[in-house]
């Protein structure tokens, strides 16, 4: 087994004890990207000289010498981000020291490359980018998830043990679930975000995608700039909202998540409580409208009329639609968010965590990203948004943990917790891994086994 296949924490530990040479690890990482990336299209840029310079200058931090990837959503001192697009309306992107870059550098990590993403971060699929679609290592014809498509496919494909993604409307958790990884969307504002092209965002956060919760804890601690200490999950009051989050899923997804949830409850004690969400029907429209409003100031007629023809037609249409959305709806979205946040705070008096499937079905085909659900055939974007956007709307953290397979494709269970409960969610995720004998975090795509 290559050292690249070790967990992130084990790579760091072996470098620390001298068992592993970080220069050799970087070389094998770059060689593996060269070998496997043509199939995956997970990595859009490597820069061996800059990576080696980072290693030469790396401080002896918690990730000293460990190669990682960063999503194409942040600038690096030697490369401007592209956000997976030919251009970003109204924004001039430049190289620079972004927050995630700075935290990785200060932790001693080595950025081995930049990971692909869905064009402008606008989809849960990962099937469109100026660099071409990313492919799911579990099945190259399937979506890897988005918008953090490259980070997920790269970690699942064994190119690196950890990658930094971003989650604005579920963009870490969907690809984590589609690719059989663990991914955490931190509490809003806790992880490094400086240098992002939407500096006023109230929905987007940086976060890790790794093979398991312990690696996520390590990489999240770096992004947070504080150690997320591990502890016992303890007895959990687990809130479930059956309809539609459990009811409108494929049967294999529902069964795998039910089994995992029961295993977790059995392992830590506590109880599963059926609850209702406040203003449930307003969550998706409010989240979508608030997220789109963050960039709306740049969507002037002049900028919209100058959209690059290289931008995908779906994004061109969506951006122009954003330019004509009635402002009263957006104002009402903020009012709805207020009431939903207050209701959620009261709900978290009754439960410690909320749980439902991260994705209602497994990764859909790249060419036709629809899902067959009990409610009918629907776009996977709409189906995923329903499961994921509550965390972004309200600021709470959420984590996706692999809990099964359907037709050879991974299934993820999502746990959501109150504001600031990131470490506790990681504790719960680790308890869930133990309760399932780590069966699903140890699985690898057949092509890599």
């Amino acid at each position: 087994m290559s050292a690249l296949d070790l967990p992130l924490r084990e790579q760091a530990a072996q470098i620390d004890t001298g068992e592993l040479d970080p220069g050799e690890l970087l070389d094998s990482c770059l060689a593996r990207i060269e070998e496997r990336n043509p199939d995956l299209n997970a990595v859009v840029a490597t820069f061996p000289d800059e990576s080696r310079r980072m290693l030469a200058e790396a401080p002896k931090g918690p990730l000293y010498g460990v190669p990682v990837l960063i999503k194409d959503e942040w600038p690096l001192p030697w490369r401007a981000e592209t956000v997976g697009a030919a251009s970003v309306p109204g924004v001039h992107l430049e190289p620079g020291e972004s927050g995630p870059y700075r935290t990785l550098r200060d932790a001693g990590a080595v950025i081995a490359g930049v990971a692909n993403m869905h064009e402008l971060g606008s989809s849960s699929t990962g099937n469109a980018s100026v660099y071409g679609p990313t492919h799911n290592p579990w099945n190259l014809e399937r979506c890897p998830g988005g918008s953090s498509s490259g980070p997920a496919a790269a970690v699942a494909g064994g190119l690196v043990a950890g990658a930094v993604g971003a989650d604005g409307l579920g963009s870490i958790r969907y690809p984590a679930a589609y690719c059989g990884l663990t991914g955490i969307k931190p509490t809003f504002g806790r992880s490094a975000m400086e240098g992002h092209h939407i500096p006023n965002t109230v929905t987007i956060v940086s976060g890790p995608l790794c093979r398991d919760a312990a690696d996520c804890r390590l990489l999240a601690s770096v992004l947070f700039g504080e150690e997320l200490r591990s502890g016992e999950a303890g007895a959990l009051r687990i809130g479930v909202v059956r309809d539609p989050y459990w009811v409108d899923c494929t049967e294999p997804v529902r069964e795998a998540c039910e089994t995992a949830l029961e295993a977790l409850r059995g392992a830590v004690g506590g109880e599963v409580i059926e609850v209702e969400l406040p203003d449930q029907e307003l969550i998706v429209p409010a989240a979508v409208l608030i997220a789109q409003s963050e960039e709306a100031g740049r969507l002037t007629p002049a900028n919209l009329n100058a959209l690059s023809p290289e931008l995908g037609v779906i994004n061109r249409g969506v951006l122009k639609l954003r330019g004509i959305v009635p402002g009263t709806l957006t104002a009402r979205a903020f009012a709805a968010r207020t009431r939903i946040r207050r209701g959620l705070a009261e709900l978290f008096d009754q439960v410690d965590t909320l749980a439902w499937p991260t994705i209602p079905g497994v990764a859909p085909p790249l060419l036709e990203p629809n899902m067959e659900l009990p409610s009918g055939t629907t776009s996977s974007d709409a189906a995923c948004a329903r499961q994921g956007v509550l965390a972004n709307l309200t600021g709470i953290p959420g984590i996706s943990v692999p809990v099964g397979l359907d037709d050879g494709l991974p299934i993820g269970l999502q746990l959501l917790g109150p504001w600031g409960s990131d470490a506790r969610l990681l504790d719960a995720a680790e308890a869930l891994e133990r309760a399932t004998d780590r069966e699903f975090v140890e699985l690898r795509p057949a092509a890599l086994a």
């Binding site: 307003l282 061109r316 249409g317 122009k320 639609l321 004509i324 709806l329 968010r337 946040r341 600031g420």
Partner: protein, 66 residues
């Protein structure tokens, strides 16, 4: 907010009023996306939110004050 031809009229009028150019394919995308989210947007339009007291200086990293 209405579906179908009413939205088409709104779309045509808004684009023309604001001076935003859109080709037929882009207009089809806009109509499709609007239709996808229309039920939620109508729920938001119709929700009784008048009594919601604003969350001043909302801090999304914390629970709202109670």
């Amino acid at each position: 907010m209405e579906a179908g031809s009413a939205f088409q009229r709104y779309l045509d009028g808004a684009l023309e009023t604001l001076g935003i150019e859109a080709d037929e394919t882009e207009r089809m995308v806009m109509a499709g996306v609007w239709e996808l989210y229309r039920p939620g947007l109508e729920a938001l339009r119709d929700a009784d939110l008048d009594e919601v007291e604003p969350e001043l200086h909302a801090n999304l990293s914390q629970a709202p004050p109670r």
